[in-house]
């Protein structure tokens, strides 16, 4: 059934056109029906088509109104919340989300621990956004190598960078490059099946002791994965290479080491409660460390999270057994220790064997009101065969992007990118959201409010510019991006391609009682989407 709408004046005013169709129809009455039967039949046909055409045109009228082309770089929570809010705030917006991986969702897929499936439910909401008619996902497109930032800014009216933080803060101490010293980020990506890390192979068999530097939620995650009985992990979506390695792991003792005290521990109650509840786990928290000063009290008074964490640590300390029974796994919370250097094993194999710590004491800091750790000159060694540094992530700059290297973020005001840290000049049409904007802190929900602020800035800027601004002139947008990528022979992974990967993973997983079996090989992932 072909509807010829070229003769019809398609307007989006549905009732008008419907009436127009009816008017055509009613006009028949005034003609001589007998003599004009054939032409009246044709006219009748056209009027019915007109009414029907109005309905179709109304339903598919969006194409002409997509005058605002937006590109979001990064498909994690920051990217998806930004896309969702842009689509909602601007009916004329068309949003393309690009990601360097073939799989979307950022850290929700590669960061959230396998034994935290409820935290990943937000993927349902993000999938709904990706299914929006005005939204597209393009995976395997890397900012910097597939396409440059300046090219993106030429193709789109608005570019929002939400690509997070894929690097780590460094301690900058001797021995940091010994084998066996890794960042927690690498370890997490490894057990979560990130395609860049399926060959990572941490050595879990040379030792029974691992030291985790840091006491935030990521530190607790890696400690928990090391200490949990592998049978409990077998029914999660943990990568199979990691599960196999953990089954053979000889690690039985994990130290969670912080520079400051229990009143400053960066983890939150839910994660702490969870790790303390691991079956048959011996938890050691020294009573002496729990002595708090009035400065500690002051800090905790206005901070509900810190108070509840401290209470949990106190309870765990007083209720534990005095010594571990043989064969029991151990978790030690070590406070007031700052790593000074990593020491190599005696056989000089280049592998870490020990961490040398300096004892610290808390000192009030003039500016922030928070106490900082100051070295006391006393040192202590802790033997281990694996070190995981969980001291914070860091963002990576790209060409053409102003960057504040000391803070590791893009200089911005309310999400609008500044040309440089000191100059009060804005980069036109360039915005940031998420960790790249405010640093690697917060939870998934933090990005909800972050995205609202950035989209608010974009909306304000659009309103200010008006019809003669650069936002008014048309840009190639999605078509331009796809053409450019095709010219460069870059295979784009669409959202429905991801859904193929997704159903394949879930099918595989169901064969072994897991919610999904993550596909971790780049080549295979891309091959799957061409079938």
């Amino acid at each position: 059934m072909l509807i010829n709408t070229t003769n019809l004046n398609i307007s989006y005013d549905y009732p008008f056109h419907f009436n127009g169709g009816l008017a055509l129809f009613f006009r028949q009455k005034t003609l001589n029906p007998k003599s004009d039967f054939h032409s009246s039949k044709a006219l009748c046909q056209r009027s019915s088509m007109a009414i029907f055409g109005a309905m179709i045109a109304r339903a598919y009228s969006s194409a002409a109104t997509r005058s605002l082309r937006v590109c979001v770089v990064g498909s994690g929570p920051a990217g998806f919340y930004t896309a969702e809010k842009m689509l909602k705030a601007h009916e004329e917006a068309e949003v393309d989300i690009i990601d360097r991986l073939p799989t979307p969702f950022g850290l929700v897929r590669s960061g959230v621990a396998p034994d935290h499936p409820e935290t990943k439910i937000v993927i349902n909401q993000f999938s709904r956004v990706a299914h929006n008619e005005r939204c597209s996902f393009f995976g395997n497109v890397s900012l910097g190598s597939s396409i440059s930032l300046s090219e993106l800014r030429q193709i789109y009216h608005v570019v929002v960078l939400a690509y997070g933080a894929e690097s780590d803060r460094v301690l900058g101490i001797p021995g940091e490059d010994l084998s066996g010293v890794h960042s927690a980020r690498e370890f997490v990506w490894w057990y979560n099946g990130h395609p860049d890390f399926n060959q990572f192979s941490p050595d879990l068999k040379n030792t029974d002791t691992a030291i985790v530097l840091g006491q935030g939620n990521v530190a607790l995650d890696v400690a928990r994965i090391l200490l949990r009985p592998p049978a409990e992990l077998a029914t999660t979506d943990i990568a199979s290479h990691a599960l196999a390695a953990l089954r053979e792991s000889s690690i039985r003792k994990v130290y969670l080491v912080g520079r400051r005290g229990p009143a400053q521990a960066a983890c939150t109650a839910k994660e702490l409660r969870e790790i303390l509840a691991i079956k048959h786990l011996y938890v050691n928290i020294k009573q002496a460390d729990l002595q708090i000063t009035s400065a500690d009290e002051e800090e905790m008074k206005s901070n509900r999270i810190r108070r509840r964490v401290f209470d949990l640590l106190s309870k765990a300390s007083s209720s534990n057994q005095t010594r571990p029974s043989s064969g029991q796994r151990e978790l030690h919370f070590t406070f007031f220790r700052k790593p000074d250097k990593f020491l190599e094993s005696n056989d000089k194999s280049g592998h870490v064997a020990c961490v040398n710590f300096e004892k610290t004491a808390l000192k009030g800091s003039a500016g922030s009101g928070n106490q900082i750790a100051a070295g006391t000159g006393e040192y202590e060694d802790l033997k281990c065969g694996l070190v995981l540094k969980s001291i914070g992530y860091k963002s990576i700059p790209v060409d053409g992007l102003p960057f504040d290297h000391s803070k590791g973020v893009v200089p911005n005001i309310g999400g609008r990118v500044l040309s440089s840290r000191d100059v009060d000049q804005l980069e036109d049409g360039l915005y940031v959201c998420g960790w790249l904007k405010r640093g690697p802190t917060g939870i998934i929900a933090t990005n909800l409010y972050d995205a609202e602020e950035t989209v608010g800035s974009i909306s304000e800027d659009l309103k200010k510019r008006g019809p003669t601004s650069k936002f008014a002139s048309p840009k190639p947008g999605r078509e331009g991006l796809l053409q450019l990528l095709e010219n460069r022979n870059i295979q784009v992974v669409t959202f429905s391609d991801w859904e193929k990967i997704d159903s394949e993973e879930r099918r595989h997983g169901s064969l072994s009682g897991k919610p999904r079996e993550k596909l971790t090989n780049w080549k295979y992932l891309l091959e799957l989407t061409t079938k």
Partner: protein
């Protein structure tokens, strides 16, 4: 199919006209109008489709939305439903009827109220944070569990009477409940937001 059907009706109407049967003409037109209107009701224009965050249990489409019932029905429904008012961050109030046993998050989604629910009620986030506006009503609620408190720790704009919407279940004593949606966006500071003192 529809075009040919309307075409058929149209030609029938014309034939009716030429035989001078006004009634059959009017009847055909009426039939066509009914068909067209019913079809337009079901094909919601895509350009206007809002991104909904509803769960599976919601029956989509305008035909099934719950709205305030007439006063005559209120007495009958009070036994099974309570009245809840949501106040958004701009002060706009929306009153809805919530069946006993339903959570406030579910009720909000069924009535198109903008309450996020990232983890869909599994106590793994804090996005359905609501503020109970009346202390007495807050006290009528059961104490939050440790798990809920753990999530409330992380909520933006936390107050003394804050709860998670997915954990507040409608019961008869809560009739007239007033819930405020937090004005977190106003307070969000880019350099590191900290929850208010509790």
């Amino acid at each position: 199919m529809l075009a040919s059907k309307s075409l058929k009706l149209g030609t029938q109407a014309i034939r009716g006209l030429s035989r001078g049967l006004l009634f059959s003409y009017l009847f055909s037109v009426l039939r066509m109008l009914i068909i067209v209107f019913i079809v337009s009701r079901f094909s919601k224009p895509v350009a206007q489709a809002t991104i909904t965050r509803r769960k599976q249990y919601v029956q989509g489409g305008e035909l099934f939305s719950t709205t305030a019932t007439s006063s005559a029905d209120v007495e009958n429904e009070e036994k099974k439903k309570i009245s809840v008012t949501f106040v958004d961050k701009d002060g706009e109030e929306t009153q809805i009827k919530v069946p006993i046993g339903m959570s406030m998050l579910e009720a909000a989604h069924e009535n198109d109220i903008e309450l996020e629910g990232a983890c869909e009620g599994s106590l793994a986030c804090s996005t359905c944070h609501v503020i109970v506006m009346d202390v007495e009503q807050y006290n009528k609620l059961e104490d939050p569990t440790d798990e809920e408190n753990d999530m409330l720790d992380l909520a933006f704009g936390l107050t003394e009477t804050s709860r998670l919407g997915c954990q507040v279940i409608a019961k008869p004593e809560l009739d007239g409940l007033r819930l405020a949606l937090p004005a977190a966006t106003r307070n969000f500071a880019v350099d590191g937001f900290k929850p208010k003192p509790h």
